[in-house]
Symmetry: C3
Subunit: 356 residues, 3 copies
């Protein structure tokens, strides 16, 4: 097998006309709308027959050497596209139009899940199914679970007892969705996600740990997306809650009793400890860690690999990462850091000496 | 679907009397023992018909406004419960009594796994099953595996060749339990856990990596709990070992040849590199990282997000996290940190000048 | 069950002669080649009937007390083995010979996967199978997927539509290998790995996130190994690429559009953010984090738990970790660190005063 990174291109008759795309995006066209687009591609590598987009106005100069047949741009960059031999699709927000086009494209090139229950799936008693539900091979839907209209369950998933999945939601392959957990409409859970495992609760007693059964569940609103192998634990007494529009990347740990406000997004490897309350419209860079029992307000942005150790209520960007350096330099600086408080005292002593 | 975080309450005839609960906890009752309890709830949100607990004596003042029908407390707080119109359940250790009650409660409200092998499960030759074993739908038990009395295997699990699972242990959904691995009694493995994948071992040769097959396995004692999507690798030549009572949260990585002493607990996202030896009764905050080939003694406590780079034998609490700050402040301090060793030299020079 | 860490030893007639092993390794023998070896073991714990190896010449003194019947060594240590009563197997690179022997040993003691499709597996239309393919119980191979000669698919795996897996590759249990993803020959994917979940892409619009469908896939070269529960996301427009010989440990997150050069290795819990380009022959310690859209050159080595925030093109070892300390010391130093930039200014002021 040879390396090739080209995404499968559409063949001639399947490839949409630029005019079709413009109609879909409600875009104004400058140039030839009659060409066919076989593929979407990044600006740097796009070729004839391909379509790209310019989201960042600072990169406008790249258009001069761009070989794409069509580029989604703001009005002020349209002439540059045409000057380079392409067709401009003019919209107010090119990045959003690009996002919209990926969804339109995906719907054309990916086969829809066939409605119906695969004969190898195992359904418990009292399962309630909406219209057009698809349950993939070797999935298990346990007793009393409820799948809304148009729900798609991929292969090898588990939906636990009395769980509820809202209309139009989709589970990829082998998702575990625990008993009594609920999610809203149009959600997406990627492969390997585990919703509703036990929160980590133990009472210490004579040097041993005694289990606290986790009697809550997980509640997720509409339009929530959860990445591959991400875990959201069930609450101890109440539910762990993700409000509408929360987006979680892969390998994230959400501990029990956490609440995440609407439209907050977290990149991969983030960890949120128990009972933390996180506001709406926050963002968390990869591997950020949030300690337990604290509060983060709305519109707080935490940089990657930063650790939140106390509540942050004021909106803004927060960071805390040891700067990387050549190993020898780091060793010296790290060793000195262990004496930093002493250095401060020494500096103070020096200052005193110099102050008459 | 509307947001609601209330855990399902028991209906009247199912709801236990306070007297039943007191008997279960061997608690002394102050107040009315004849009320029914439909639900357990946190102190702040508990309502009539609900039961809560006060573990931290410092929060005693909360009892004045608590609406719970019953509260588990120490003797010195019982009058406060009654003064607020509730019934006090008096015990020596309220948090432990609460833990005990969650287990009693869970046993009442959750259906027990039905003994027997689901017809869709696939069993290899020579599998040995104790009495009352339950194997869920679409699980695979490979040849020679041994499941002790009362073992519960959830749906879609894999138990590898010649593996052994001790009496009363429970695997949630789609756990992978590798060939020749063994666990003791009363253990719990949560969904997505992978026990006994290959340790990460390669010999470098001419710029390539040559695989070192991992010939050991994983050995876990009694009462071990392993969180969702946590991985415990098999040893290279000997077993990776978790002693009795070890508790691991979700998304933890335990590398090959690691040994973890009895009753040590690790919060989510912790990583332990190969051949580290960790003592008993230790705790690790979330995302703590332990480098390989080092030793951690008994009763060592590592704070969240801290990195252990050399052995720690002395009991105590250890930390190492860059403090988070507003991004602008952090940038300045981080930049200065890269010159810290120089700053120290400059300070020394200044001190010299001032010393006659 | 009692703790025992001994890997299953071979019985007499199965146990190879030292002479057999020497032939396999092309090793020169000093001592008795007629003994049988029942087990491989570390130098410190090896007993009679067992074989070990000495990779690090600095540990040569350990040979004096070693009880192994045979030890793989360099020529200069052979006499020490014999002096301690053992047999020396002399090779140029003992660690590599040990690696080779583990593979030979594993092939002897582990049953090979039986070729054929388990009757409980579910195969879609148009699946193409090479010769000698093994598909385990309850696996799903979706339409159009292609499995090369000798491919082994473990139990409960999912291979997506039109995916391609090269000859001799092996998937452990319940791997998810997404639609249109491709891997080369002789690769290994461990249990719970998720290849080709959606990259984390959303366009912000009026406080909400609009999904960017991920139209690329994942492309992996030959001899790639991916650890348990590791995730490699599909690209947005092009493929996420892992070149030949890349080795990834467990619980690693590789975001969309990342490229990893040949023979680069990453330890557990590493995260690589979107569109990062990583060179060949690099190594990453556990929990290292690489931010997005940056470049790392060939032969760059990143220490454990270090965060790469800008491109690194110069080969070398790089680190950035807050040193761990007793909690009280850390608190003082961390507090002072938040004033470090001020301290620098104060030092500068002192220096000025002292400069006439």
């Amino acid at each position: 097998m040879r390396a090739s990174e080209t995404v499968r291109a559409l063949q001639d008759e399947q490839a949409p006309l630029i005019a079709d795309i413009a109609a879909e995006l409600a875009a104004q066209v400058l140039g030839d709308a009659g060409l066919r687009i076989r593929r979407m591609a990044p600006l740097e590598t796009a070729q004839a027959g391909e379509l790209s987009f310019l989201a960042n106005p600072k990169l406008k100069s790249k258009l001069a050497t761009c070989c794409a047949s069509a580029v989604i741009v703001r009005a002020d960059a349209a002439e540059d596209v045409v000057a380079a031999g392409g067709t401009a699709l003019i919209v107010a927000d090119p990045y959003r139009a690009f996002a919209q086009l990926t969804r339109w494209w995906a719907a054309r090139v990916r086969p829809a899940a066939a409605p119906g229950i695969h004969p190898s799936a195992v359904l418990g008693q009292g399962v309630r199914l909406g219209t057009g539900v698809s349950v993939g091979p070797l999935s298990v839907i346990e007793e009393g679970a409820c799948l809304g209209d148009g729900v798609v369950i991929g292969p090898q998933c588990q939906v636990g007892r009395d769980a509820e999945i809202g209309a139009g939601s989709r589970l990829a392959a082998r998702v575990a969705f625990g008993a009594e957990c609920r999610m809203g409409q149009r959600g997406v859970l990627h492969s390997g996600a585990v919703i509703g495992a036990d929160g980590f609760g133990f009472a210490p007693h004579q040097g041993r740990w005694e289990k606290i059964e986790q009697l809550g569940a997980v509640w997720m609103g509409d339009d929530v997306e959860v990445g591959a192998n991400t875990c959201i634990d069930r609450g101890a007494l109440e539910d762990t809650v993700l409000e509408d529009g929360v987006k979680l990347d892969n390998l994230i740990q959400i501990a029990h009793n956490v609440r995440i406000g609407a439209h907050t997004a977290m990149a991969g490897c983030v960890g949120v400890a128990g009972s933390a309350r996180i506001g709406a419209h926050c963002t968390f860079g990869g591997a950020a860690m949030i300690l337990g029992h604290l509060e983060i307000g709305d519109h707080v942005h935490i940089s990657a690999a930063s650790v939140v150790m106390s509540s942050i209520l004021k909106p803004g960007q927060y960071s805390g990462v040891f700067p990387i350096d050549e190993n020898g330099n780091w060793e010296k600086n790290a060793a000195t850091l262990r004496q930093l408080h002493q250095l401060r005292s020494r500096l103070r002593a020096v200052e005193k000496k110099l102050t008459p």
